[in-house]
């Protein structure tokens, strides 16, 4: 009860707030909250920058999801093929990357790639090339950090999934004379499918909402805001100055986009005959 309320009641409040004029003054009861209808939404949609940021966010998130999933899955498979020692080494390294607080991880990466103080430019012989000045190279740097700290989640989950397939099932398939490809297609993939689905959806949600990495690594959205993503934009325009109603409206827009992506994805799976 309590937990479900914890998840859904805030969403309901959020939707409600997005139709009001609601700032810190209203929260603390200094002024009454006034109903504004779609005023907050009008403000967002009439802002040209919002659309640019939205586009950048979608492309960036898609790149992050694809890279994270491919790296994570590839390494999960790699883990099943090695002995205990390299496996533990890779797992611990990955876990460390995952466990590092996002602010620290971002700071360290920035330090590594710093044109004056970083070792990476030295090693690559790039002189004092600045990674954060160009729009694409700044996004690339953030992408690398995002993949670094989120592939372990995919790797560990998928690895656990592969491990959960009972040996008997695989042996039986083998005895039946199934080829390697067939084993993967008709035994492993269907069993891993639900896990891959949730890992994908989770990654989409996280990468669409990426905040700390952009905020720290591009110093709040890059040169003249070129690296802004939606979550950082919402923070700067609304939450940092307690414009909760505006922030909630952006939040609802994000919710609808992510919901749409999720539903389309699930529908596509269903059309392929995959039942969730």
């Amino acid at each position: 009860m309590v937990l479900g309320g914890l998840l859904l009641y805030p969403i309901y409040q959020l939707g409600l707030i997005s139709f009001f004029h609601y700032t810190q003054a209203q929260v603390s009861g200094g002024q009454p909250a006034t109903f504004e209808g779609f005023g907050n939404y009008r403000e967002i949609f009439s802002d040209a920058q919002f659309w640019q940021v939205l586009l950048a966010t979608v492309v960036f998130a898609a790149a992050c999801v694809v890279s994270t999933l491919s790296v994570g899955c590839a390494l999960a498979v790699l883990l099943t093929r090695v002995r205990a020692l390299p496996r533990l080494a890779l797992m611990l390294a990955a876990l460390g990357a995952w466990a590092t607080p996002a602010v620290t991880g971002s700071t360290v990466w920035l330090l590594l790639f710093d044109p004056d103080f970083g070792p990476v430019n030295r090693m690559l012989g790039l002189g004092d090339h600045s990674w954060t000045y160009g729009r694409l190279s700044a996004f690339l740097l953030v992408l690398l950090e995002v993949v670094w700290c989120s592939f372990p989640f995919v790797m560990v989950t998928v690895y656990a999934g592969i491990r959960a397939v009972p040996a008997e099932v695989l042996e039986a398939a083998e005895l039946d004379g199934a080829s390697q490809l067939r084993v993967w297609r008709s035994v492993l993939a269907p069993m891993l499918r639900p896990i891959l689905v949730v890992v994908t959806i989770q990654s989409v949600i996280w990468d669409f909402k990426v905040f700390t990495q952009i905020y720290v690594m591009t110093n709040g959205g890059g040169i003249a805001g070129q690296n802004l993503t939606l979550n950082v934009y919402a923070y700067q325009q609304a939450f940092a100055s307690s414009q909760y109603s505006l922030g909630s409206a952006i939040g609802i827009v994000m919710l609808l986009i992510l919901l749409a992506v999720t539903l389309v994805y699930l529908r596509l799976l269903r059309r392929q005959g995959e039942e969730l």
Partner: protein
């Protein structure tokens, strides 16, 4: 799967799950939640006073000073218990807003950053202490900018606790080797910066940052520009005025291969510039009294000196931004008299002197500052900068939005990266600022 006996049991498991979902729809209300934070109106003379101060990295010396003030206060007021908590600066926004929302958790006295004053006042969180402040004898020596930083719309909402101000750090060894003189005007500052860079291509002449707003403001102010004009709720941006544009041009002209390459400097903030200076990558930098320790720990230790940032005229000082922290009393306090008294004790001349000794916090009283400058020569240029007159950001709740949405850094970066010229970028920034002033009113 066909329904089976097993499924029946499963229903029991499902039930709570479904109930979880339902809970969200049943707990409905008609309007967003608000809380009641009106002042309690009570003025109790005994009980517990709660104080929130910022937790510094080496906090023990601060705690010692505060504890002794608190002990004396408790001795003077029978039946009063003071509880001090130290909160990380990074958590202040959430904590203090939460305190406004939940008077039960709220402290009586808080330390807060002086740029937050107008916002907290608009949130209805801070108590108007104009009367007490006027009656406080020590307040007559409070420096005008510090007083401005606790004032919104003519009313006083706290007592200045300490100030922070920036001046020009320069490398004595580099200047000596190249036979350079310390710049006396802003124009000389630029030529000196170019000379350093020309002679030592590995160094930035004067390291500047596109996101270093407080380093750029003196250039605008020295040229007679303002960020915004007006009083109280009705501010209007002045960032696109001719004078302000001149200042913006002066600052942005420092970005380039002949001083501080845009590719590296456009993204820098205040910290990055001082870090570069401390690591020996720059001939000059604009840094605060609070950066002293970091520079001293760096490679350049003992090879640098500090002077006030020169203004346009020879011998003048460019007005600096006066940062720092204030103390204030929360609206929800039920111990008004005691809380204001404790605030004055914590912000008194004596406490500020001791805090300077312990933590290096610059006092907000002009006379106390003169005294401490004699004890610690390194603060002299900062005290001189303060004495020459400093400036403050617009006392409007809109400032927090202008600040967090990076209006000014965006403007500088657009110019520096060649995306826009000074006129276009400043006009755009002025529009954004006016939007914020308009919606916050």
């Amino acid at each position: 799967m066909k329904p089976s006996v097993r499924s029946v049991r499963s229903v029991r498991l499902v039930a709570p799950v479904a109930a979880l979902a339902l809970a969200g729809f049943t707990a409905t209300a008609c309007a967003p939640e608000t809380s009641d934070n009106s002042s309690s109106g009570k003025d109790e003379q005994t009980g517990t006073l709660r104080v929130w101060l910022f937790q510094e990295v080496g906090n023990t010396p601060k705690e010692k000073v505060v504890t002794s003030v608190v002990d004396a206060f408790e001795k003077a007021h029978k039946g009063v218990d003071v509880k001090v908590e130290y909160i990380p600066v990074e958590t202040r926004a959430q904590r203090i807003k939460a305190a406004f929302n939940d008077p039960k958790s709220a402290p009586d006295v808080i330390e807060y950053g002086n740029t937050d004053t107008a916002g907290y006042v608009a949130d209805g969180g801070l108590l108007d202490v104009s009367k007490e402040f006027a009656a406080w004898d020590e307040a007559t020596d409070t420096d005008p900018t510090a007083r401005q930083s606790v004032t919104v719309d003519g009313k006083v909402y706290g007592a200045p606790f300490f100030v922070g101000v920036r001046a020009l750090y320069y490398r004595t060894d580099v200047f000596k080797e190249l036979g350079l003189d310390v710049p006396k005007t802003m124009a000389e500052l630029t030529t000196t910066a170019h000379e350093i860079r020309a002679a030592e291509p590995d160094l930035y002449g004067l390291v500047v940052g596109g996101a270093f707003t407080y380093g750029a403001m003196p250039f605008i102010w020295a040229n007679g520009g303002e960020l915004a004009t007006g009083r109280g709720g009705s501010y209007a941006s002045a960032i696109d005025s001719t004078a302000a544009q001149k200042g913006i041009k002066a600052y942005t002209s420092l970005f380039g291969d002949d001083n501080c390459p845009a590719a590296k400097c456009a993204g820098m903030g205040g910290n990055d510039t001082i870090t570069a200076f401390a690591a020996g990558k720059a001939g000059m930098a604009i840094g605060g009294d609070f950066n002293h320790a970091a520079v001293q720990a760096g490679k350049v230790k003992d090879d640098y000196a500090v002077v006030p940032l020169p203004g346009v005229e020879a011998g003048s000082v460019a007005p600096a931004f006066a940062g720092g922290n204030n103390l204030g009393v929360l609206n929800s306090t039920s111990h008004r008299t005691l809380a204001v008294d404790l605030m004055e004790q914590l912000a008194s001349k004596q406490t500020q002197t001791r805090l300077f000794d312990a933590m290096g916090f610059l006092p907000t009283f002009a006379d106390v500052r003169e005294t401490v400058a004699k004890k610690q020569p390194y603060v002299a240029p900062f005290v001189k900068t303060l004495a020459a007159g400093t400036k403050f950001v617009p006392a409007s709740p809109a400032w927090s939005r202008i600040d967090s949405s990076l209006v000014l850094p965006t403007m500088f970066q657009e110019i520096v990266s060649g995306k826009k010229d000074v006129a276009a970028a400043s006009a755009e920034a002025a529009k954004k600022m006016d939007d914020a002033f308009g919606s916050a009113g």
